[in-house]
């Protein structure tokens, strides 16, 4: 009996959520191992794996677009999602936790699919991905959100040695229960949700993969650069508006909108938010403790 082409499995664990990437391409496996080097786990044995989340990757020769869509398009039929862009076509079954990707040998395609899939996984759980930098200091995570040019990479570059940068571009936020290993004992005792930030391999202009760490979120700052370093309170409605503007959100689907909206409302209801105006120098970090 002839054997099927060797399969190369890579498990990428982001946000404490492991996804098995299955490919027959050794070159693609190498690409994955390089790109997600701090976010890899050992592939599970067939006996020990409980039906893991998985994506089967089919590679195409690098010649021309995979689909005619220049921009990312996400559609669904029930729990089956279709994710397409010029350089890939993907499907994700949210109930089975399985999907497929057809793409060229490019890291950008798999990055995009992983971001969308993780967003879909976390949406019903109260979590989300956010355009924002995040860092751990003194055992607590601080988020820095804002539009392009607001200063996410700048504040990441200014971080002191005792701060661990989780990402300068895409922050991963999870709402955790005690069974998820939530680390905030005080919140668990009082029955309040615990929000944690996790590192991601999605780098911005810092061009550096974030640390694979996690910590309870102490504060969300909305960034703006200015003539002084200061923290100002903001009305809840403004915080929610700005948060919604920066959550990775890619489909005008009523069910998804409701989940994302509910998640954002719960988040601002439980996590302090402020506006952080800062000069582009290290003194701003004296305010972030």
């Amino acid at each position: 009996m002839s054997l099927a082409t060797d399969r190369h499995d890579v498990v990428v664990d982001i946000g404490g959520t492991a996804i098995l990437l299955r490919t027959h391409s050794e070159a693609f496996r190498t690409l994955l191992q390089d790109r997600y080097q701090h976010f890899l786990r050992e592939p599970m044995s067939r006996q020990s794996a409980r039906d893991p989340l998985a994506l089967d990757v089919e590679l195409l020769p690098e010649s021309g677009p995979v689909t005619p869509h220049e921009e990312l398009v996400v559609r669904h039929d029930g729990d089956r999602w279709q994710i397409v862009r010029g350089d890939f076509r993907a499907h994700w079954d949210a109930v089975r936790g399985h999907g497929t990707i057809t793409q060229t040998l490019s890291p950008f395609a798999i990055d995009s699919v992983l971001r969308v899939v993780h967003s879909l996984i976390q949406a019903p759980r109260g979590g989300f991905l956010l355009h924002g930098a995040s860092a751990i200091r003194n055992g607590r995570a601080f988020l820095f959100s804002g539009v392009s040019g607001a200063g996410k990479t700048t504040i990441s570059r200014l971080a002191p040695p005792d701060a661990t940068i989780l990402t300068d571009e895409i922050s991963y936020i999870r709402r955790l229960e005690a069974s998820d290993g939530a680390q905030n004992e005080t919140s668990q005792r009082h029955g309040r949700p615990v929000y944690e930030a996790f590192g991601t391999p999605f780098a911005g202009e810092l061009a550096r993969i974030g640390a694979n760490g996690r910590a309870p979120i102490a504060h969300l700052f909305f960034l703006t650069q200015g003539p002084e370093n200061r923290i100002d309170p903001i009305p809840t409605s403004d915080a929610l508006r700005m948060l919604l503007r920066n959550i990775l959100f890619f489909a005008d689907d009523s069910k998804l909108v409701e989940m994302v909206f509910r998640s954002a409302c719960e988040f601002v209801d439980h996590v302090p938010t402020s506006r952080l105006t800062f000069l582009p120098d290290q003194r701003v970090w004296e305010l972030i403790q």
Binding site: T236, S237, L240, D252, V257, E258, R262, C265, D269
Partner: protein
């Protein structure tokens, strides 16, 4: 004058937070935050109660506003929100089609 009936659209997500009503359209992801008067009207928009009755019994009594002024403002508010698909407007009672709940924090209910 014919009655105007208003109902919350099923294509929105809404939540009372920090004393304000926050609404997001599922159609175009537009975000709204309503002031106190607008919140009262929005929460009373059950499709069965005419707008004039909402204004008379809820707005005028709670906020000490002249009826004519309150009615004018309410009509403008309803027109604005219906343009964005947040409120449904009709001259007949509107059938309830899975109206979105507007969950309120426990403290605000007590």
């Amino acid at each position: 004058m014919a009655d105007t009936f208003i109902a919350r659209s099923p294509a929105i997500a809404a939540r009372a937070l920090g004393g304000e009503m926050m609404i997001m359209s599922a159609v175009d992801s537009t975000f709204f935050s309503l002031n106190e008067v607008a919140t009262v009207i929005f929460q009373a928009a059950d499709g069965r109660t005419p707008l004039a009755e909402i204004v008379e019994k809820k707005v005028c009594t709670e906020f000490e506003v002249e009826p004519e002024e309150a009615q004018r403002d309410a009509e403008q508010f309803v027109a604005d929100l219906s343009k964005h698909g947040v409120l449904l407007v009709s001259d007949q009672p509107i059938q309830a089609h899975n109206f979105p709940n507007t969950p309120v924090k426990k403290a605000e209910n007590s």
